[in-house]
């Protein structure tokens, strides 16, 4: 690997693997020791006029963005070429689709972020880790929207499928192409780095609620019966934190 320094190794190899480890171990820890805190901490009770627009826009926009990342990053360029999709068609499809999703996500997160910072009732129920996650999300969204709209939709275009995507897939096969990632524009590098930090923060923030989407509700019986059962005393050391102290007067 010529021209790859220790710093590059840190950012494009060490950081992703550390983040992945923290992500997995963190979730196991959180589930075992703080299942009570595994929650979405909704603030709809306190403020609903802004949430009505912000939350659905952000969540559905984020789903579209995730789908776009799966198509653009996880699916190799050779696969779409084998299907006979020309590079030009893919580019315009991803640029237009991505731009649409980007607009929805940006409007959604703008509403949600301003609500969280400006509405005092909402601010009072916000933990420090939530601000960290929010700032990271803002960085990720901004650095994701800029290349999608300015570079790919309005500008000359940049084929991230030849640099960023192989590096990302390489992380999972154990041979990340660091050189390719080093050559990518800075905006992609910031985007990827912030994303890795977010994965590391994820298990400790309210973002864990994403894994609790209750799809099971679609086919479970309406009324749930449960036997009284045996209430076990908590194992030593697993009680975890029970009540968060957040905002408001004591």
């Amino acid at each position: 690997m010529n021209g790859v320094g220790a710093t590059d190794i840190f950012w494009w190899v060490v950081l992703p693997y550390v983040a992945m480890t923290v992500f997995v171990v963190g979730h196991v820890w959180r589930w075992r020791y703080d299942r009570f805190g595994w929650d979405c901490y909704s603030t709809e009770l306190l403020e609903h006029r802004l949430l009505k627009w912000g939350a659905p826009l952000f969540h559905y926009g984020a789903f579209a963005a995730i789908l776009g990342h799966v198509m653009g990053v996880l699916v190799p360029i050779s696969f779409t070429q084998a299907l006979g999709i020309p590079e030009e068609v893919y580019r315009w499809f991803s640029a237009v689709g991505g731009a649409l999703a980007a607009v929805v996500v940006v409007v959604g997160i703008a509403i949600l972020a301003s609500r969280r910072m400006l509405v005092s009732r909402v601010r009072a129920t916000t933990a420090k880790i939530d601000y960290v996650a929010l700032v990271l999300l803002l960085i990720i969204v901004i650095t994701g929207v800029i290349p999608t709209i300015w570079l790919n939709l309005l500008g000359p275009g940049y084929n991230y499928r030849l640099t960023v995507a192989p590096w990302f897939r390489g992380l999972f096969t154990g041979s990340p192409d660091v050189e390719a990632m080093v050559s990518a524009p800075a905006v992609y590098q910031i985007h990827a780095t912030a994303a890795w930090v977010l994965w590391a923060v994820w298990p400790f923030s309210r973002l864990v609620h994403a894994w609790s989407f209750p799809l099971w509700y679609l086919w479970r019986p309406f009324v749930v019966y449960r036997s009284r059962g045996i209430i076990m005393p908590p194992e030593p050391g697993t009680a975890g934190r029970r009540w968060r102290k957040i905002g408001g007067p004591a």
Partner: protein
């Protein structure tokens, strides 16, 4: 037939004086925590009034409870399952905290620290949500005793459909109190609304609970409950609700609201019901038939066949016996004087209300009827449209005849007992006119007027015999020898029981009270246990 037992409550509204003791003790026990300042698992509303949260009874606005779809199948009023999941990020039917009342405290420090001689130092109100100054606009029970009545009471959803409005003049006003807790419904729409499956109805006693470790804060239970008796803790992000004081119920004690009720108006007891009949009863097409349909799912514990089925379903003997003595079964099913609150929500609620006769009698008095004469009160009950139809909107989905019959039964008890008191022969005319026998009247009189603590609260203890075994197993995870001074902690082991006596005699030891006690742990169980019993001087011989 699948027999299940349900702990249920009856409240006699005639006896409620609106003192809020139940609300206060409930608050102290269950919701005296940050995030729940605005929450009252038990609250007492003045009727007519808007309730708590504001106008919760209007399901066109809140869309709680169940409805029948076009094919007559039971479905959630707020929409199907897929619709729930698509609305995860914004629940359009969720009340705002302002509908309950923003919680506040006062800046007491300005009063405490006011320099001597300050004229009337005053503490201003501070929001407990934000810590900022606030103006108090609304809170739970702001229309207590019809405060602001002319302004608020006409917003009562139960007054809809009544041509003449309840008159708000002081002399003629029709008013009573309605204490409310969770209904612990047979067909709970909150449980059906919970996407996480965190809410459940207990198989043993029918109490509806939220598993706090499973709740993810999706908050559909809050909007799904038509009584708005599931609340959102905005600090923990979890739903919390009335637990029917299950730790007390499990040990055979009444709920804290019942225990502390000054008017002694609450009754607790078991009802046996056929779980297989619940869905059909809740799907009854005409809402006005729901009351009768709900009664039809209850089983008569006097019927030997029912008792055999109950035993087969795993209900313990002492529970079946308790169901036979249940005051709730007597009042709601046998005498039919207790009615469910808003049966039209189709949840089959299990907190029942004896509608108040007193305000009707008061209005009758104001209208010139003689309340002492039962015939006149009967006539008044028939003539007074507004109070009866208002009560019907609350308890029978608008079917006035049912409420009228209950009120006439209550009036008949009073009339008969007045005759007994005055040494006159009450005859069988009055009881028969309300479809009861003199014995029924006597039974009802004893239940309503005399019933002592043991008669009002017939609560069998939980069967937790097998729990001990598992607890012991659990404790084995932590070696009992690892206690302080035990061999596992490097000690010499526990000392042998002190004062080990000869075989056949329980060993004695001196207790902290200075007296000799028998140590049964060290006794081999043979021989004469006479030393177990102290002599008259209080010393063991």
């Amino acid at each position: 037939m699948r027999v299940m037992a349900q702990v249920a409550m009856v409240m006699n509204l005639d006896k409620c004086i609106g003192c809020h003791t139940c609300s206060v003790t409930c608050k102290q026990v269950w919701t005296n925590r940050p995030g729940l300042e605005y929450v009252y698992f038990n609250n007492v509303e003045t009727k007519p009034g808007v309730g708590y949260p504001r106008r919760y009874e209007d399901q066109r606005q809140w869309r709680g409870g169940w409805k029948l779809d076009r094919k007559g199948r039971l479905t959630l009023k707020a929409g199907g399952r897929l619709r729930r999941l698509l609305q995860m990020y914004y629940n359009p039917d969720l009340p705002s905290i302002d509908d309950y009342g923003e919680p506040w405290t006062y800046d007491y420090r300005t009063v405490i620290d006011a320099p001597l001689g300050t004229v009337n130092p005053s503490a201003h109100s501070i929001s407990t949500l934000t810590g900022e100054d606030m103006r108090i606009r609304w809170g739970s029970n702001f229309d207590d005793d019809l405060a602001g009545g002319p302004e608020h009471a006409p917003d009562d959803p139960d007054l809809e459909g009544l041509q003449e409005r309840v008159r708000m003049e002081f002399e003629q006003v029709f008013m009573f109190y309605l204490p409310r807790i969770c209904e612990h419904c047979l067909n709970p729409s909150c449980v059906a609304s919970c996407p996480s499956g965190a809410m459940y109805k207990r198989e043993e006693d029918g109490i509806v609970l939220v598993d706090q470790n499973r709740c993810r804060g999706w908050r559909f239970c809050v909007s799904g409950c038509p009584y708005k008796k599931v609340y959102f803790n905005y600090k923990t992000g979890k739903a919390e609700k009335c637990t029917f004081c299950f730790p007390r119920i499990e040990s055979g004690q009444p709920t804290i609201c019942s225990e502390t009720c000054v008017g002694r108006l609450r009754y607790l007891g078991l009802l046996l019901y056929d779980a297989d009949a619940v869905l059909a009863a809740a799907s009854t097409p005409d809402p006005q038939d729901l009351y009768e349909a709900q009664l039809s799912v209850f089983l008569d514990p006097e019927d030997p066949h029912v008792r055999a089925e109950a035993a087969r379903s795993g209900i313990a003997d002492d529970w079946i016996e308790a169901a036979r003595r249940s005051p709730v079964h007597a009042l709601a099913v046998r005498h039919r004087v207790a009615l469910p609150l808003h049966p039209e929500f189709r949840t089959l609620p299990m907190v029942w209300y004896i509608p108040p006769l007193s305000p009707v009698a008061d209005v009758a008095h104001a209208e010139g009827y003689d309340p002492a004469d039962p015939d006149r009160v009967f006539a008044a009950i028939d003539a007074l449209r507004v109070p009866v139809e208002y009560l019907a909107n609350l308890f029978t989905a608008g079917k006035a005849e049912t409420v009228r019959l209950v009120l006439r039964r209550l009036a008949a008890v009073r009339a008969v007992m007045r005759d007994v008191q005055l040494g006159r022969d009450p005859g069988e005319e009055v009881p028969r006119s309300v479809g009861m026998s003199p014995d029924d009247i006597d039974d009802l009189y004893r239940l309503l007027a005399i019933a002592k603590y043991e008669d009002r609260y017939v609560i069998p203890q939980v069967h937790a015999e097998e729990a001990g075994a598992l607890t012991a197993q659990h404790q084995q995870l932590f070696c009992s020898l690892d206690g302080e001074g035990g061999p596992g902690m490097g000690g010499q082991g526990y000392p042998p029981p002190a004062g080990r006596a000869a075989a056949g005699e329980p060993p004695m030891f001196q207790g902290q009270d200075g007296r000799l006690h028998a140590n049964l742990l060290g006794w081999d169980g043979t021989g004469d246990p006479s030393r177990l019993f102290p002599d008259a001087q209080g010393e063991a011989t």
